[in-house]
Symmetry: D2
Subunit: 340 residues, 4 copies
């Protein structure tokens, strides 16, 4: 059994890790910490776990964490980087669900995240945990930067086009829509029910931290020169991300064939038949990314959906853990989506 | 492995059975029928099951069903009773998720369901599939009448009071609220998104078929004389039932102790600490019934929640199957609720 | 033109007063105060009013308020009572949308609201602003206690039965469901979108301040002896209250006729034909209360709906203002509900 | 008083016309027809209008309609074109809220709408009813083609850029999101609550009829050469359209100044300060279009919101009526939006 530690388990990605680990036959929760909820039973914070997860949050204790085989950080940005060197030294492996290790260039990271990086020397070693592009490197990694929710859906959507050099990388648009859990479990006026319900809006136009993350990955997969316009929106629903991607072909291509070939062997990516429209409701609570590609003339439109808390966070983190420990990649992640 | 057949699998209880059976280590789907969807892959009707359930709906074929160990009917009322005699004869066991075998008295059944009963001789044999009251009889039953969704939440909520004879059975009120999936997967004007969303209403006051079902069960558990006022309401959400139950004590009692004692050993019923308020969101997609009891003077208020598609339908049906086949009652049903 | 002041205009009842006053041909906004938003344009807090309400919030200034003909308090409980004596002295009339003047007995008020009352000498003078029972007294009042949202729907629903002495006043149950705006415009964890959406729960069983308010009114309308069980619930929608009322007849009665007779001349109460089920969506944004009465044997069930922010708060306050200033009671309140 | 006729009043645009006409001091409803609801009181179909609109639907009677000053068609596509010649002959003026007269070229119309046009000779005369571009022509028109909901939001959003020739017209993308009422009041499986709620999806990629409509208008306002990629999506909410528009500058420009100048005198278009994000909830039930423009390098992103049933349908139709009859353009349309 893999001994699992979770740091900062009182947010939405924390509860989702706990939920998914209940399904996992090869991993057991060893320690879960939460500064704000220390001493509280997990089920008093998350009644959905009552009778299933019978442990209490503890205060952060690096020695206890260091005895784990793997430690997940489900913390705000800037926390994992404080503790990663110690944990890696102690022999634990780390999967950070926040953004501390997602950008390679410390200067870029510091500009977008507004703080100095505590251990820039690990940025190079950290492996970006998107199995569809880094499966082998993930298997041997000590430190995983688990991708952001939008970047997972957007990168997987653009990937076949960019890898094959079929589109102009300087003209990419990602129009992204997320359920409200993507904003985290914060008590904020703009996340109150009456503000969000029966409402739709964009936010952070030209100013979202996932833009440099996606750009970095796509630049690494193709010929570079990526210029991505990224606009996120808030949808009045709990879960789900739908991204609508726009690009322009630089040469003729059988788009459907390109996508099907690229993802034929991926256990968690499905390409719909030509003309399809994926929906977030069909991946709710599951680890799948479902996509469809549409072309007309030079214009390509890709539709890609995930559950932001599963393939966009906790599920992908467990997929990475499976790879790191030599398990079947789908272990504990095969449960179907919830409908309705 | 238990060979499972499902009749009428294209509704919400059908897809929920399929979803839950994916988690079950001892059961395998043998045949699934749907008159309206015969020939279609299950995943084309329910994209949430794509990659998980790779079978097609077949037309109804009693011989194929008769080879199953157990056949679930997830059909409209009046269908199961046409086929049950043949299937039982052939040695299959049957769990009817509809109402054909829920009422003992054929005359009462015919009055509430508006049609003649096709096999009234089986009404006596059929076991009402509420494990919390009929566990032993379920284990040896050939034919299970799986309880309705409201009756599950209401009966479990009133049960400790009625069994112990603590309240006046002639003064019971069940004010019930259900998510929209409780109405089934029908294409109806009153179930359109714009009719239901941002709206709340009661329906079928004094005229809902679950009233005689609950009354029959409670009469059987206590001293009789039940007079239940039952009012259902539609809540703008997909899943979940919350019932608020009102009764009057005929003697003093430690209500919290009564409830805790009654359900101490039940794997799927939890009683909240005194003063609690259960919420449907904490049982979403799980098989739990969570309740709280409040008293002031002679007045008792019980709050009880379930997921109408799980403990209120498909989950309870699988719980019954487990009992019928000598498995651990919780087999395949331990996954935690989904939050948010 | 009636000169209107609003104190504490940055909550949901404040914005609703502003919205409704835009429709009112005989009233003009003179001053609007908000401690937290002083100096901000109203439209920066409420973008829905941009281009319609071009004033800024000011800090509280009793002298400015004293020049108004009428001052609405849309403040938390405990604020109005600090300023009412001064304003009445200055000749302004006051309509308090909070609870400071709703209970006659200072001791009862202090027990339920947990603070000493600042001007108990006004409790007797204050008129409970439910036009359907106090129309004449409202017309000549200086100080109106505008009813709570639940009390409006519940009191109007029980009124015909209690006034006529048809039911046992010691056996009244009000099972109440409210949209989330009823909880106010607070930044609270339990009001976050992901907590409320796809969720349903009761709260404050046996402990809601609207219970004594309703009891007081019903005791005043009938023979006394009211014992009311009141349970509120939160519905995942923005607006609307639906109450389901249970009582028992003490004598035979033509319930439909009783209700129709009682409300025949009420401009904002409509009784549905026998067998009806009112819905909150049909009164959204309007000042109507719609109800239906159902009877079976001795049991009576009344269904009653309002928009909690209109007939349950700001609309009723304007209806009271109309009465106080000799206008047509419906002035500015005739706009139809919004559907869908 | 303007005598108003409405044909096909039983859909969402029909009820919205009725609601808005209740606010209009210069228009009175003379006749309302509905083939499916003939003989029914309007309030039995739309309980939100009970007590406000006390007429019944009549069967279609061209003679009765011909006595009206103006006839609104709130019908499916293909109905208005059957009756328009007769009504115009009789001296009535016509505002078609459907698409029969939106495209100038009969061949294009017939290709997109899949039927022969019944009166192509009127396509040239019909005026496209977007006041912000056709105010003068609308004033003298006999026949108005009221714009589609998406085209209103998209065209107003792109207009300042295209008119000024600032962007490449061959590289326009409109990513559009609509509430469910935009799909009409149909009883369809894909519009059922449980299908839409907690779900998000695109539909009709490269195949939506609003694409040629927008293209035609923008070609008419600029130098031509428009190539628009248009992708609509369904949002789980009742009302509201949010469009996110992408284009590329061909020259430097002060975008904020361009937008503010273009719409300075428009009563129903508001440009947010630089950096703003409009939200659909702030225009709910109102006739405003609110927008913001963002630029970075050559990339321009415009955000534009309307209520699809008001500025996107019935409100704009009444705005056109006001212009046609010489009234203040805002008459009956000044009520503020509804929040929350």
């Amino acid at each position: 059994m893999i001994k699992v530690g979770i740091v900062g388990g009182s947010g939405f990605t924390g509860v989702e890790l706990l939920r998914l680990l209940c399904h996992h036959p090869q991993a057991e929760l060893s320690v879960i910490t939460s500064r704000s909820e220390a001493g509280q039973p997990v089920s008093s914070v998350f009644p959905s776990l009552a009778g299933r997860v019978d442990v209490a949050f503890s205060d952060v204790d690096v020695r206890a964490l260091a005895t784990c085989d793997v430690v997940f950080f489900a913390t705000p940005n800037g926390v994992a980087m404080q503790q990663v060197p110690t944990l890696l030294d102690a022999g634990a492996r780390v999967i950070d669900l926040a953004a501390d290790f997602r950008l390679r260039d410390p200067a870029v990271w510091e500009r977008w995240y507004g703080m100095p990086h505590a251990c820039p020397q690990f940025l190079e070693e950290a492996v970006y945990g998107l199995p569809e592009i880094n499966r082998d490197r993930i298997a041997s990694a000590r430190l995983i930067a688990n991708p952001g929710c939008y970047p997972t859906a957007v990168t997987l959507g653009f990937l076949p086009l960019v890898e094959a050099g079929l589109v102009d990388p300087a003209d990419l648009v990602a129009d992204c829509k997320s359920g409200v859990s993507g904003a985290g479990r914060h008590v904020r006026a703009d996340l109150a029910f009456c503000e969000v319900n029966e409402n739709f809006r964009a936010y952070n136009v030209f100013a979202h931290r996932h833009q440099p993350e996606i750009t970095q990955t796509l630049n690494g997969m193709g010929a570079g020169g990526v210029d991505l316009t990224f606009v996120p929106h808030l949808v009045p629903m709990n879960r789900g991300i739908h991204v609508t991607l726009y690009s322009r072909l630089t040469q003729a291509a059988d788009l459907q064939a390109v996508y099907e070939a690229r993802y034929r062997n991926e256990p968690f990516v499905r390409v719909l038949p030509a003309g399809g429209h994926p929906q977030t409701g069909a991946v709710r609570a599951g680890n799948d990314c479902v996509m469809a590609v549409h072309g007309e003339g030079r214009r390509v439109v890709v539709l890609s959906v995930i559950d932001n808390l599963v393939k966009g966070a906790a599920g992908q983190a467990i997929q990475n853990m499976n790879l790191m420990f030599g398990l079947d990649e789908t272990c504990g992640l095969r449960q179907p989506a919830l409908a309705p």
